[in-house]
C-alpha cells in the first residue's frame, strides 16, 4: 500500500513545468536592449573613444592616449571653468530647490482640488521654447530692460545699469529659473503621494504642522527632492545656451567650451574629453544624491 501511494505521488514532482528558457527571456528583452545599445551605450563609447584619440590639426588621429585629459587638468582655464561651472550649477539648483519644494508643499497641502491646476501653471513655462525663455531674461535684465526701467521710474537709480546682465549672478538667476519646473515636478509628485492621513495621524499624536513636516513629510519626500535636484543639476551643469546669452565673459561655463571645441576650434577629441568630464561630474553628483534617496527608518 505504502509503495503504491508513493508511486501515485511520484508524478506530482515530475509534472511538466513551464520554465521560461533563456532564449525566451532574451527575446522579450531584445527591444529594450537594442534601444539602450543604440541610444545609450554606442554614443557614449564613441564619446569616450574620441576623448582618448588625438587631434592633429583638426583631423582625428586614432591613436590611444590620455593627452586630452592631462592637458585639461593642467590647464588653468579649464580648472577655473570647472570650478565655476560646478559652483554655478550647485547654487542655481539649490536655489531652485529652495523655491520649488516649498512651492510644491503649499500647492499640495493648501490648494485642495485646485492643486493640479496650480501645478500645471507652474510647469507651463516648459512648453515655451528654451531659447525664448532665456531671451525673456535678457529683456528683463538688459540695459534698456524691464528691471532698469522699473528702478529708474521708482528713482532708485539715475541711469540704466549694465550690472544686471553678463555676469555670474545673471547666469545663476537664469539657471535657477530654468531648473525650478523640474525640481517642482519631482517634489510635487513625491509630496502628492503622501496620503492625507499621515498629516492627520501626526497631528493626532501632538505634532504641530512644522514638526509633522520635519519628522514625517520631509523624510518621506526627500527622495523626490533629491531626484529633482539631480535633474536640475545635470541640466544646468551642461548648459551652454544660458551662459552664451546672458553670461558674458565672467559667466562662461564648461558647456560653452564644448561647443567651441566641436565648432570653431575643430578639436573633437578635446571636446569629447570635456564632455566625459561633465558626465563624470554629473554621475558623481547623482551618486551623492542617491544617498539621500534612501528612506530612513530610524529612532533616536
Amino acid at each position: 500500500m505504502a509503495a503504491a501511494a508513493a508511486r501515485r505521488l511520484e508524478p506530482i514532482t515530475a509534472l511538466p513545468r513551464r520554465i521560461p528558457s533563456p532564449v525566451r527571456k532574451f527575446l522579450i528583452l531584445t527591444p529594450v536592449l537594442l534601444w539602450i545599445l543604440a541610444l545609450v551605450i554606442l554614443p557614449n563609447v564613441f564619446l569616450v573613444s574620441y576623448s582618448l584619440w588625438k587631434n592633429e590639426l583638426g583631423a582625428v588621429a586614432h591613436v590611444w592616449n590620455l593627452h586630452n585629459y592631462s592637458e585639461l587638468f593642467t590647464s588653468h582655464v579649464f580648472i577655473t571653468l570647472l570650478k565655476r561651472t560646478l559652483l554655478i550649477a550647485m547654487i542655481s539648483t539649490a536655489c531652485a530647490t529652495l523655491i520649488a519644494y516649498p512651492l510644491a508643499y503649499v500647492v499640495v497641502t493648501k490648494f485642495g482640488r485646485y492643486k493640479t491646476l496650480a501645478a500645471l501653471l507652474i510647469i507651463i513655462p516648459l512648453w515655451v521654447s528654451y531659447l525664448m525663455r532665456i531671451f525673456a531674461w535678457k529683456i528683463i535684465l538688459g540695459e534698456h530692460g524691464v528691471l532698469n526701467g522699473l528702478l529708474e521710474s521708482v528713482g532708485l537709480i539715475d541711469k540704466p545699469s549694465t550690472a544686471f546682465l553678463y555676469s555670474t549672478t545673471t547666469v545663476i538667476v537664469t539657471l535657477t529659473y530654468v531648473a525650478i519646473p523640474y525640481v517642482f515636478l519631482s517634489s510635487y509628485t513625491s509630496l502628492d503621494r503622501v496620503p492625507r492621513h499621515y498629516y492627520e495621524a501626526s497631528a493626532d499624536c501632538g505634532a504641530s504642522a512644522w514638526r509633522t513636516f520635519r519628522h514625517v513629510i520631509w523624510p518621506l519626500t526627500r527622495p523626490g527632492v533629491a531626484i529633482g535636484f539631480a535633474i536640475g543639476f545635470v541640466l544646468t551643469f551642461g548648459d551652454y545656451v544660458t551662459p552664451a546669452m546672458v553670461g558674458g565673459l565672467s559667466g562662461t561655463m564648461l558647456g560653452s567650451i564644448v561647443l567651441q571645441s566641436f565648432g570653431t576650434a575643430d578639436n573633437w577629441p578635446q571636446g569629447a574629453a570635456i564632455g566625459v568630464t561633465i558626465i563624470a561630474a554629473g554621475l558623481l553628483v547623482l551618486a551623492l544624491v542617491s544617498v539621500f534617496t534612501r528612506l530612513e527608518a530610524e529612532i533616536d
Binding site: 495621524a201 497631528a203 493626532d204 499624536c205 505634532a207 504641530s208 519628522h215 514625517v216 527608518a297
Partner: protein
C-alpha cells in the same frame, strides 16, 4: 492624567454609561462640507461620559465618521460647539487636543520602525528620553507586540499593524480614544480576536473609547451605550439591550438585527390591523397609523403559540438554512413575516402556526422623527 499602568488603582472602575464628568459634549453640532448641500451631520447633541465605551453605528454616509473627525479636530463644525472635558474645543487644532485616534487604515508612518511609531506621541510631548523606551515596551506588551520593535510597518500583517496603531494611540494616555472602523480591514477571525483585545484594553486602561463602525454586531458586543446614526441624525441613543429590544424607529429596528416591520392601522385602543392581519397590542399607540416591530426570535412557532394573544396560521413560503437555525418566511394574509423555526424542519407549502406575546411587539416611529421629538421635548 491617568497612568496606563496604574489605571486600576488611580481610577474607579468605569461605570457603564456612568454619571462622571462628561468627556465629550456636542452641542447643536452641524457640519456641511464645502460644496455639499445636505449637511453630513445635522444638529447633533451628544454627551459622552468618563470611562464609557461609546459606539456610533451607521451605514456609510450616515455622518458617523464626520462626527468622529469633529471630535478629533480634523473637521470644524459649521455650527454648534464641541466641548472636551468641559472646555469649548471648537477651533482647537488636533495636536492640542488630548484625544488620540486609531485610523481605519492604521496610518503608521512607513519610514519609522514600530518602536519609533509608538514613541512618536511621547517624542512630540517632550517626554524625557529615558522614560520613552520603557513606556514603548510596555505599550507594545499591552497589545502583545513585544519583539516587533525593529520591524517596519510594511513588514507586518494587517492585524499586527492594527495593534501597533493601537499602542501608538494609547501610549500618550489620552483622555479619549477615537476608533474609526478600526477592524474594517481585518478578516473575520482576526476581527473577533481584536474585539476582545479592545474590550479588555478599555476596561484595563479606563480611557473613554468612541468607536465608529457600520457593523452592528461589533457595536452591540462592545458598547456601554451606542448611537445609531442615519442621514446625519441620531436615530436612537441607548444601551445595546435597549436598542435591540426597544428600537425607537423603523430604521433602527431594520438596521440592527432582523425585524418584522408591520404597517398598522389602529382599530381600537389596544387593537390594530396590519393589512388583513388582526393584532392585539400591549400599549396604545399615539397615532392611528403606526409601524410595529417584532423580532423573529420572539415569535413562537408551533403548538405552544396557541395560548398567545396573537396567534396565526399560515403557509410556509421560503426556508433558509442558516446552520444553527432555519429562517422561515411565511405569508399570512397579505403580510410576509420572518420566523425562526429552530430545529423543526419545514418545507415550502407546509402549514405553520405561530404567534407572539403583545409585549414583544414594539411600536416604532418613522425614521428621523425620534430626534425631532427629543428636540421638541
Amino acid at each position: 492624567m491617568s497612568s496606563l499602568t496604574s489605571a486600576p488603582q488611580t481610577e474607579p472602575a468605569a461605570p457603564p454609561g456612568g454619571d462622571g464628568a462628561p468627556v465629550v459634549q456636542l452641542k447643536g453640532v452641524s457640519k456641511t462640507y464645502p460644496g455639499g448641500e445636505v449637511p453630513a451631520v445635522d444638529k447633533m447633541d451628544l454627551t459622552i461620559q468618563e470611562g464609557e465605551f461609546f459606539s456610533i453605528l451607521g451605514s456609510s454616509g450616515s455622518g458617523k465618521t464626520t462626527t468622529l473627525r469633529m471630535i478629533a479636530g480634523f473637521e470644524q463644525p459649521t455650527r454648534g460647539s464641541v466641548v472636551l472635558d468641559g472646555v469649548d474645543a471648537t477651533g482647537v487644532p488636533p495636536y492640542r487636543r488630548d484625544v488620540n485616534t486609531v485610523f481605519q487604515n492604521y496610518a503608521l508612518f512607513p519610514h519609522m520602525k514600530v518602536e519609533a511609531n509608538v514613541a512618536y506621541p511621547l517624542k512630540m510631548a517632550g517626554t524625557p528620553k529615558g522614560e520613552i523606551k520603557p513606556r514603548v515596551a510596555e505599550a507594545l506588551e499591552r497589545v502583545s507586540m513585544t519583539g516587533f520593535e525593529k520591524r517596519l510597518p510594511h513588514q507586518l500583517s494587517g492585524g499586527q499593524r492594527q495593534r501597533v496603531a493601537l499602542a501608538r494611540a494609547l501610549i500618550g494616555r489620552p483622555r479619549l480614544l477615537l476608533l474609526d472602523e478600526p477592524l474594517g480591514a481585518l478578516d473575520l477571525k482576526l476581527r473577533e480576536n481584536m474585539l476582545l483585545v479592545l474590550k479588555h484594553l478599555q476596561r484595563e486602561v479606563g480611557i473613554t473609547f468612541i468607536y465608529v463602525t457600520h457593523d452592528q454586531g461589533e457595536a452591540l458586543a462592545m458598547s456601554d451605550r451606542l448611537a445609531v446614526m442615519n442621514g446625519g441624525y441620531v436615530e436612537q441613543l441607548a444601551t445595546p439591550t435597549e436598542i435591540y429590544e426597544r428600537p425607537a424607529t423603523s430604521f433602527v429596528a431594520g438596521f440592527i438585527g432582523k425585524s418584522n416591520l408591520l404597517e398598522c392601522d389602529r382599530t381600537a385602543s389596544n387593537n390594530a390591523t396590519a393589512g388583513k392581519m388582526p393584532l392585539v397590542l400591549s400599549e396604545t399607540p399615539g397615532e392611528t397609523k403606526f409601524t410595529l416591530s417584532i423580532r423573529p426570535e420572539t415569535i413562537v412557532v408551533g403548538e405552544e403559540s396557541r395560548s398567545l394573544a396573537n396567534h396565526y396560521e399560515a403557509v410556509v413560503g421560503d426556508v433558509l438554512f442558516l446552520g444553527h437555525e432555519r429562517e422561515v418566511m411565511v405569508d399570512c394574509g397579505d403580510q410576509r413575516l420572518i420566523l425562526r423555526a429552530g430545529p423543526n424542519s419545514y418545507s415550502p407549502g407546509d402549514p405553520i402556526e405561530f404567534g407572539w406575546n403583545p409585549d414583544n411587539a414594539v411600536v416604532v416611529k418613522a425614521t428621523g422623527s425620534w430626534l425631532q421629538q427629543q428636540q421638541d421635548a
